[in-house]
Amino acid sequence: MLAVLPLPEKGQTAPGQTGQGMISGGATALPRPKPSGRPWPVTFTDVAAQAGLRMQYTYGHPQKKKYVIEANGAGVAFFDYNGDGLLDVFLVNGSKLEGFPAGAAPTNHLFQNKGKGQFADVTKSAKLDQSGWGNGVCAGDFDNDGHTDLYVTYFGKNLLQRNNGDGTFSDVTARSGTGGSGKEWSTGCTFVDYDRDGHLDLLVTRYLNFQIEKSPLPGAYPFCMWKGSPVYCGPRGLPFGSLALYHNKGDGTFEDVSVPSGISAVKGFYAFTAVATDFDGDGWPDLYIACDSTPSILFHNQKNGTFRDIGTETGLAYNDNGSEQAGMGLSVGDFDNDGRIDILKTNFTGDYPNLYRNLGKGLFGDVCLRAGLAVNPDHVLWGTGFADLDNDGWKDIVQVSGHVYPEVAQIDAREHYQRARLVYRNLGGGRFEDVSEMSGPGISAEHSSRGMALGDFDNDGAMDVLVMNMHEAPSLLRNELKSANHWVKLRLRGVQSNRDAIGAVVTVEAAGRVQADAVLSQSSFLSHNDLRLHFGLGAAAQVDRITVQWPSGKSEQFPGLKADALYLLVEGSGQAARQELPR
């Protein structure tokens, strides 16, 4: 023999074969704590078909996605478009690469809540039967006329749909100047009155600069691979996205202030969901944007019409370890009942979500591991929300899931395109418990879901869930709660503030417990929740005090009120007015 035989080098990788389109970690599930043993009174049943939510989502090719545009799905909205006290449903639809013959393209859908659990498709009569590659939706009364309007993002021109108050909407995009060039791939959006002038401005996120003719095909580059198999390329490796901020001039038109506001100075991200509220308690709304495979962004409102990204500095850009993540969806709410607004961000498979606890002074800490949320890293998570599902006074969590590659099981049999939903019960003390398996057939059903909205569509005091499912019908998960716990719902009306009070932070005190929540124009994944805030009260049959931090900057207290009802809080009135809750 010539010499001693050599040892192989450890951890070799093939040059040019590393990388992937999507950021994820190699995270494995952390051990589940011992079950609390407490009864869980929540059962979700999918009642979409029986309720009349009949439509089929189109979103690229159902079996094999050639481009990233086909993968991300769309948002949904729970909102009361006709002011009858019943939540209606708006669903954004997509398209496919080949297109459709004239008149055959799928459209968005508006379903009117007729009460008694029934919906009617009023898309055409409401004039919301637009087609295109739709993505996100946000809601807000941009013209302060008392009727909540919609903004819908597209790969192409976005749409600002003015609610006429007579059951119809008008496309006011061109006049408003908020449509974009028509070449962008817009995803997230949120109305926000960033300058506190009482008019809702608009932030639009653009995922990436997608040009189909320039986009490489599956397998062409390392970022077009997933675990060694060719898949659609991106987002990594594709040109970054951008942001647009439109200032509402109060006359139905908007001005693009992306440059002077400092929004467009931030580069290098793939932006999805946007949320707007006052995260640091300084009375001015900030903007947080979940970014895919790049650091997420927190725009701090500088109170002079400009913003500065302080996501990294405040702990909101990365996870606890300082790693970039594939941010998709956002929940915003006070999970630990300390009166501060926290954030939950969903990410890709092989990774954990982030539970960013608001530490005060505008600082955040990712407490996902400690909270017990690092137990399902085999899910690609999208829509998410904090909601007190059992009305015990602690906000629980709902998340929807589904892989991006339909063929993923052929690549790695451990992964699945369709997955069950997840429900976590808030145990208090900053801890959660996975109760998905106890939450009924609506949760255990497997779909590839994306958008999700929270709201109480049947006004029974239990929060329900609306879900977008890729290439299927939507899900309407009715919460069949069996509990004597009390609750209260609050609808805010701005006077000096924007009429829908988007961005307001509400604190409810009951039986010595303090809870906070925010009125949002968008959250979850590119979706819009019920504008009415819902607080579980546990055994407390009375709310002792309500404090509203209005978007105008004013703080207002409302006196105590009885539980199990909806109240209207009008800015400056100092009184809560009980409202009817039609069933």
């Binding site: 590393t18 992937q20 051990p31």
Partner: protein
């Protein structure tokens, strides 16, 4: 005169048998006279086409010269020429690995293992490579085989534990328990058991083993880091600081320990100390983005916003310039066929 002698000697070698030719070629190769050595080995192969030493040494010489494709073809022939030879199969596997063909390497090593079924060292190598190739179940199985053969030595246990942990094998905890029982004085064995206990959700049970590991080997940084991280996770910042400081003292370039220490100090609102720790860490690991990322947070807390921004931008730049530092394991090449 010297040249004439060399030519004469060469002529004599050419008349010799393949063994003698190969021996001479080997001497020449050791003198780095590769061309002459190759000529002699090829001469030997003309006389005896399946002459194993010539085939193997040609392969080895090519391997040593970094010519892996050529090495592979000679080593394949060598392995065919001598079916009961271990070394040719082993080296063939190593060559395939150099050619970024991990699966062929593992195939070759499997045949080598058939020749030497008790070669626990090769089993350990295979376990590591199975893991690198995402063949976690196979990595765990062969690792355990090595333990069965050499359970009296700690190293096979540790290789098997790592592989089985990655394979999410339910027996991993038991494996580490056995290792801790077998090697009660080994800090590594106690640490591994404590680590697995924590991963199994038995946090409180894990702590005595971690403490034992720390006291058994005060120069072994891992238990200090892990113990400190556990305290940090539980927001017991005060208890986290000292073990993390020790881990960092033992390994000054241990960025994870440094960041954890900084986070514990920030939790205690001791931001100046956190800054000092991160500064030291940034000096030790100048291309690592993490110290700068957390320095950005510390400066922000200290009210020095310009420095916070500068550190953020530096961190971002370093992240882009050194993507592998923070790259996820998912980015490694993955086997073509699905793993079930």
């Amino acid at each position: 005169m010297t040249g004439l002698l060399a030519v004469t000697a060469m002529a004599l070698w050419l008349q010799a048998g393949p063994d003698a030719l190969s021996d001479r070629a080997q001497q020449l190769a050791m003198q780095k006279r590769y061309d002459e050595a190759e000529a002699l080995w090829k001469q030997a192969l003309q006389a005896a086409p399946n002459h194993f030493p010539s085939l193997f040494n040609l392969g080895f010489m090519r391997y040593s010269m970094g010519q892996f494709a050529e090495a592979e073809s000679w080593l394949k022939k060598a392995a065919q020429a001598k079916p009961d030879d271990f070394n040719s199969r082993y080296l063939l596997g190593t060559t395939c690995l150099k050619l970024d063909r991990r699966e062929d390497a593992l195939r070759a090593w499997k045949t080598a293992l058939a020749v030497q079924p008790k070669n626990y060292k090769l089993m350990q190598i295979m376990s590591v490579e199975y893991s690198n190739g995402y063949y976690y179940k196979e990595a765990c199985a062969v690792g355990r085989q090595a333990v069965e053969l050499r359970g009296d030595a700690p190293e096979p246990w540790f290789v098997a534990i790592k592989a089985c942990f990655e394979a999410r094998d339910p027996e991993t905890l038991n494996l580490t328990k056995q290792a801790a029982e077998r090697f009660p004085n080994s800090a590594r064995a106690n640490f591994e058991y404590g680590f697995q206990l924590q991963k199994a959700g038995l946090r409180d049970e894990s702590l005595p083993y971690l403490r034992k590991a720390m006291s058994q080997d005060p120069s072994y940084e891992e238990p200090f880091y892990f113990y400190g991280s556990l305290m940090l996770l539980d927001e017991q910042y005060e208890q986290a600081v000292e073990p993390l400081r020790t881990a960092l003292k033992l390994r000054p370039d241990y960025v994870s320990a440094c960041v954890a220490l900084a986070k514990a100090l920030m939790g205690l609102d001791r931001n100046q100390e956190a800054k000092e720790a991160l500064d030291g860490c940034a000096r030790m690991s100048p291309t690592h983005p993490q110290p700068h990322l957390f320095l950005s947070q510390v400066y922000f807390r200290l009210g020095e916003e310009e420095k916070a921004t500068a550190e953020k931008l530096l961190s971002l730049r370093l992240r882009r310039e050194n993507p592998t530092i923070m790259e996820s394991p998912q980015a490694r090449p993955f086997p073509g066929a699905p793993r079930r």
